[in-house]
């Protein structure tokens, strides 16, 4: 199989998966008890207002027609309109997504780097105090709730030491950098403004460490286990016997071969990261998709919930596809 046919088959496989996801979201939101329109209003709403409301949202159409409109809409990038202000949900998503993406990317980098470093260290010091301490650390961080760690860090670094802000994304006294990507750190760099970069980084540190630490446990364990396996392999010993340096053997031979399962986990964890973002974003008042979703759930804004969940779903499928392709690129045995 060539790389091209591999990629094509992956892309084609994604289509039924996304269809299934879209259908599931649609069905679930409609089979749960309660009329979304009625739930949205207080008791005793005027039937005329209610009918008008249903009509604007398309809830008065037959269910199959709603389903069809929904699918066609998503194909065109239209996620429906919000019950709150009748504004397109895609506008909200585009406005909020960069914040979530920025936090997710930095947390993932933090988690993967820390996970790889500690995992490699543990595997090379197998069955020593270092190894056991790192394993304990990975279990503790894996088990600790996001908001708990977040609040501990907030208490320590923001309230007690006063070094970092407790929450939000940017200092209220300053204008954020002009929007290009919507990610403040990158926009600051693009604008060439070091001052704005420092501000955005300061606001990122605590949420990144919180989310990254929670995530790194699984990477530590995975790296350690896979490294223990590859370190025992013949080609690692053979590489040592050829006089390759410890660094080349550890990273170029053992870690490189242990990396594929870790890469898969990065893809899977990115999905978990987006879900985790809901808690982290709430803890740090981070104005991303997570807080948006929580806010919409609070207002029983069904169309917005549907749109956000679908957006998350498509994002995760694309990520999985990306990881699959990267997999093939990295492992010559899959490429062929």
């Amino acid at each position: 199989m060539t790389l091209r046919s591999y990629v094509t088959s992956r892309v084609l496989l994604m289509i039924p998966m996304v269809m299934l996801l879209l259908t599931l979201v649609f069905v679930i939101l409609r089979v749960i008890p309660g009329d979304p329109a009625l739930l949205h209003f207080e008791k005793g709403v005027d039937p005329v207002v209610l009918a008008e409301f249903r009509h604007r949202l398309g809830l008065d159409k037959p269910i199959l027609e709603q389903y069809f409109d929904y699918l066609v809409g998503i194909l065109r990038g239209d996620f429906g309109i919000s019950m709150q202000d009748y504004a397109p949900i895609s506008t909200h998503l585009i406005g909020r997504f960069p914040a979530t993406l920025e936090l997710s990317i930095y947390s993932m980098i933090f988690a993967v780097l820390l996970g790889l470093a500690l995992g490699v260290k543990a595997s090379k010091n197998y069955d020593t105090v270092t190894d056991h301490s790192i394993r304990l650390f990975s279990i503790v961080t894996y088990a600790i709730p996001v908001f708990f760690l977040g609040m501990v860090l907030q208490f320590f670094f923001s309230i007690w030491l006063g070094w970092l802000p407790t929450g939000r994304r940017f200092d209220a006294h300053w204008m954020p950098p002009p929007t290009v990507t919507g990610m403040y750190t990158i926009d600051s760099i693009l604008a060439g403004d070091l001052f704005l970069l420092v501000i955005s980084v300061r606001y990122l540190i605590l949420p990144t460490i919180t989310l990254g630490t929670i995530l790194c446990g699984i990477f530590i364990r995975l790296t350690r286990t896979n490294m223990l396996e590859t370190l025992r392999m013949d080609f690692v010993t053979a590489a040592k016997a050829r006089g390759l340096s410890d660094g080349t053997v550890t990273y170029g031979y053992a870690l490189r071969n242990a990396f594929l399962p870790i890469l898969t986990m990065i893809g899977i964890q990115f999905a978990a990261l987006l879900a985790g973002a809901i808690l982290t974003e709430t803890t740090f008042s981070w104005p991303g998709l997570g807080t948006y979703l929580v806010d919409r759930i609070g207002h029983r804004d069904y169309t917005a919930i549907q749109g956000t969940v679908v957006f998350f779903g498509i994002l995760v499928s694309m990520l999985t596809l990306f990881v699959d392709i990267l997999y093939a690129y990295l492992d010559p045995r899959i490429r062929l």
């Binding site: 080609f235 053979a238 040592k240 016997a241 050829r242 006089g243 390759l244 071969n257 492992d331």
Partner: protein, 336 residues
């Protein structure tokens, strides 16, 4: 003649949960330059561990518990952490970096299973580049690759295949690549651990022939570890028979096959089929080797030995000169 390798009182132990297993027990061995020593014995007799100990690559949890290993070096070898002077060097006293410099450059090691001895993520060419640059960082990639191609061509592999990955090669070709990697820096000493065990008989014959040619061309001193006495009959100048971590007999190949001295060597030879004597009756050795964690006193072979005497149960026989000019460790010959 100078000794390329001299081993004194070498002891290697594996610390297992059940206790300490002495895989190599006070082995004395010297090997003259340009000779091939066959190291034979059944599985678990310590022959591979002895070979690995010479590379200082005894697998975890094994470690050299005592003794010295001297190798002879022609020229001073520069090393970041202390240059290695020419002459006889005790490698048990070298630091890790000094040892790394020696591995691959002075001593090469070829492993049993060529299918797993190459890094699946690297092209064959990159194996050569890394190997050469690990010892000569000043050599450019292109030049290193050219040297690799040259060596491969000498071994009958098309030079353009350097861009291929290990999984695109057959077992025999991979073993040739391993030999090529072993030879590219012109080491003095080549240790090969069952290099042909996982190959079929025809490929085995080809590989052995190529190794014999290389030995002539590069004035190699070789240690060939195998349980296959037939292979040794073709290739070795001398043969050392190991049993339970001790050398029980050392003789020239001719003498060993003509007049084996030690009862174990005699029994071993009787158990080998001979194509020229199809009617030869094969004799097996009753019993099994003793548990190395709980060793028996005296000669380790005594419970299985047809000629065992009282002294065999209490005293370890020393390695003494035999009638045929070799060495033997058996009380049958001690009396003179």
């Amino acid at each position: 003649m100078t000794n390329a390798l001299r081993i004194q009182d070498l002891t290697v132990e594996y610390k297992t949960r059940r206790g300490v297993a002495r895989a190599v027990d006070r082995v004395q061995l010297s090997l003259e330059e340009n000779r091939t020593l066959g190291l034979a014995g059944e599985s678990g007799c310590g022959k591979s561990t002895l070979g690995r100990a010479i590379m200082r690559l005894v697998p975890h949890p094994g470690q050299v518990a005592g003794g010295n290993i001297y190798i002879n070096i022609d020229d001073d070898i520069p090393c970041k952490k202390g240059d290695i002077p020419k002459g006889e060097v005790d490698i048990t006293g070298l630091n890790e970096e000094q040892m790394r410099v020696l591995r691959g450059k002075e001593i090469a090691y070829i492993f049993q299973d060529p299918m797993t001895s190459l890094n699946p993520m690297l092209t064959i060419g990159n194996h050569f580049i890394q190997m050469i640059q690990a010892h000569n960082p000043e050599i450019e990639k292109e030049e290193a690759l050219d040297r690799g191609k040259e060596v491969l061509e000498g071994l009958g592999i098309l030079p353009e295949r350097v861009t291929d990955y290990p999984h695109q090669f057959s077992g025999g070709m991979r073993q040739r690549v391993m030999i090529g990697l072993g030879m590219v820096l012109r080491p003095r000493l080549l240790i090969s651990d069952e290099p042909t065990t996982s190959l079929d008989v025809i490929v085995e014959a080809q590989i052995l022939e190529q190794m014999a040619e290389l030995k002539k061309t590069f004035n190699l001193t070789m240690i060939l570890i195998t349980h296959n006495l037939g292979v040794l009959a073709q290739t070795a100048d001398d043969i050392a028979i190991m049993y339970c971590g001790r050398i029980v007999e050392l003789a020239s190949t001719e003498n060993l096959f003509e007049a084996p001295q030690h009862p174990y060597a005699q029994a071993l030879l009787l158990s080998v089929p001979d194509v020229t004597k199809p009617n030869k009756k094969l004799v097996w050795i009753p019993g099994a080797p003793p548990d190395l964690v709980d060793p028996i006193p005296g000669c380790m072979f005594n419970p299985r030995c047809p000629m065992a005497m009282d002294i065999c149960k209490t005293q370890v026989p020393p390695l003494i000169e035999s009638e045929t000019g070799g060495l033997v460790a058996c009380h049958l010959y001690g009396g003179k």
